[in-house]
């Protein structure tokens, strides 16, 4: 990763909400599901073979150190999936993986992977439900199996497919690497993305979530990608789908048609869910040093929660780490806002020490250090900060 280069499945399945809902109304939602509840592939079929490979990957993923074990996060994601598709609740298993990019994916055996970068970027439960619904759409329409069969039938693809599945079975480079290999096999077609979009939007709407949250996700990703252009960023989100604006418009139209104005957003519940992991997710984001992108993400979240001290601290860190001409002043201003808001981490003072020292303000640095020591007497940084202050 850059964890970013690790795709599995569909890169939020590309979020290809193309031509959404245009012809979907003719059939009932459940009639379109090719996979019944508690589905198992028939014995001896190619599908069963594929499932077994996925099961092996999943066994490794279960014990991976990259999987987030936070009970509240896992319980909430499970609740959302069950709310979206009650009958399929026991068929889908969710793994939250600590990776700072925006992605989610679905394997044919019901193994769903959600990256923490996606959790950071969602504003509320409805936005997350839009993504999880989309992934369930792929599962319910048997898309991975279709892609597998399609790929298998293409001789030019055969060798690569063989490598991918052999790796999945052998497990020689670890489960996450295996996932990446398999991912390359299952790049969905545009039609499949469209189907998943239609189903996802219907699932979330029927579950009582605000459908307009779905186009918002897409809009946010476009804004972020544009901010990253100056950093010559490869966009994971847009890798296989070149017309994001067109999809945004289509999706927005479809969501408006479904919107009753009464849909739930679940913003507070969403923030509460992330309470135990926000700091580490934010740290992972900042460590990418994608300053422009991170700033767009944090600004958006701050517009929603202006009294969030952790987010202001994150803004300060962006400026401190970027270190441009006006950045120290910007950082100090953001740290000030963090401390005036709720939930600023003690590390805010640690960062103030670093910035003030670089600005030659030793007294201010010393004062921040003294406060930091009081707040976090056992900090592993104490010796380091003392060293800086004494230099």
């Amino acid at each position: 990763m850059n964890p970013a280069r690790r795709h599995f499945g569909c890169v939020l399945c590309g979020l290809a909400w193309l031509a959404l809902a245009r012809g979907a109304a003719a059939q009932g939602l459940a009639d379109r599901f090719l996979v019944p509840p508690r589905y198992q592939p028939s014995a001896g079929s190619d599908e069963q073979g594929l499932w077994r490979q996925m099961d092996r990957v999943e066994r490794e993923l279960k014990t991976s150190r990259f999987v987030v074990r936070d009970p509240q996060v896992n319980a909430t994601l499970r609740d959302i999936v069950c709310r979206l598709g009650k009958e399929y609740c026991s068929d889908i298993r969710i793994y939250v993986v600590r990776t700072p990019q925006f992605n989610a994916s679905m394997a044919p055996n019901g193994m769903m992977e959600v990256w923490t970068g996606l959790l950071l970027r969602c504003s509320d439960e409805a936005q997350l439900a839009a993504i999880l619904g989309h992934e369930m759409g792929h599962y319910l329409r048997h898309h991975t199996l279709d892609r597998y069969r399609d790929a298998r039938d293409k001789s030019s693809f055969g060798a690569f497919l063989g490598i991918g599945l052999a790796a999945a079975g052998a497990g020689y480079v670890g489960s996450l690497a295996n996932l990446a290999l398999i991912a390359s096999i299952f790049a969905y077609s545009r039609d499949q993305e469209r189907e998943a979009d239609e189903i996802g939007l219907e699932l979330m709407s029927k579950a009582g979530y605000a459908p307009l949250a779905a186009p918002e996700v897409w809009q946010q990703l476009i804004a972020e990608a544009k901010a990253g252009t100056s950093e010559r960023s490869e966009s994971v989100m847009f890798a296989s789908h070149p017309e994001p604006e067109e999809r945004l418009v289509t999706l927005r139209e479809a969501a408006k048609r479904m919107d009753s104005g009464k849909g739930e957003r679940g913003a507070e519940r969403y923030r509460a869910m992330l309470g135990g992991v926000r700091e580490s997710i934010l740290h992972d984001e900042l460590a990418l040093r994608q300053y422009g992108r991170s700033e767009v993400v944090l600004d958006r979240l701050l517009a929603q929660s202006p009294d969030d001290g952790l987010l202001w601290y994150g803004k300060g860190e962006i400026y401190r780490l970027r270190g441009g001409q006006d950045d120290p002043a910007r950082a100090i201003e953001a740290y000030g806002k963090a401390l005036a808001a709720k939930g600023a981490p003690p590390e805010t003072y640690r960062s103030i020490v670093v910035v003030e020292l670089k600005q030659g303000h030793k007294d201010r640095a010393q004062a921040a250090f003294d406060t930091y020591l009081k707040m976090k007497p056992d900090s592993p940084d104490t010796a380091a900060l003392r060293m800086l202050l004494e230099q």
């Binding site: 990763m1 795709h7 950093e231 010559r232 992972d284 990418l288 670093v354 592993p380 060293m387």
Partner: protein, 201 residues
């Protein structure tokens, strides 16, 4: 296929599978023309085909088990190291070293570099403290990383900034056995370190 290549390269850590090795004898050696050290045992110097940067890499048991990375005068504006195979047009700009960085910022830079190179979120640098390096002022901190192969690695970085350039050595090994076993050898190398050539001026 590009993705496949990246993942496999990450698994092979700081070296490619076909990387040629050169024997490093336990006698005084010059690294990158600027650092002089005296190892106490035989090391293997790796060809740096997969790594780009002002670095030289040694190993005892293979790069998956342990690596010693020398930073031979990283100048202002350059990354510590990047994947040589990375397509610069398609990847995010790597974080770079700045001459004005203090030791804490160097520690943060190594963490960001490691996370990026090894495609991991499980990398931490901590416990920064002052330490004399190459007959002058320097610093040391501990590193910890879990790679995509799920193996936990411990490490230690020792460095100094002289005339705006970063000189240092980072030893990392599998936490189980390979780090602790060779830590005294690393310390011996660090104790023997002197800056030579342009770096000594």
């Amino acid at each position: 296929m590009a993705r496949l290549a990246i993942v496999l390269a990450a698994a092979a850590l700081l070296a490619g599978c076909a990387t040629p090795y050169t024997l490093v004898e336990p006698k005084r050696q010059t690294v990158g023309g600027v650092i002089s050290v005296e190892p106490g045992m035989k090391w293997n110097k790796l060809g740096s085909a997969n790594v780009k940067g002002k670095v030289e890499i040694w190993t005892l048991d293979g790069s998956v088990l342990n690596t010693l990375v020398f930073f031979a005068g990283v100048p202002d504006g350059e990354p510590l190291f990047v994947r040589a195979s990375a397509d610069q047009d398609k990847t995010e700009k790597p974080p770079v070293f700045r001459s004005a960085m203090n030791p804490l910022e160097v520690q943060e830079l190594l963490e960001a570099t490691v996370r990026r190179y090894f495609q991991t979120t499980l990398a931490e640098e901590a416990n920064l403290r002052a330490e004399p390096v190459a007959e002058g002022r320097g610093f040391r901190f501990d590193t910890r990383m879990v790679g995509r192969d799920e193996v936990e690695r411990s490490g230690v970085f020792v460095g100094t900034v002289r005339n705006g350039k970063l000189y240092g050595a980072w030893f990392q090994g599998a936490k189980l056995h390979y780090f602790q076993r060779y830590l005294p050898e690393f310390d011996r190398i660090v104790a023997s370190a002197r800056l030579v050539g342009d770096a000594a001026r």
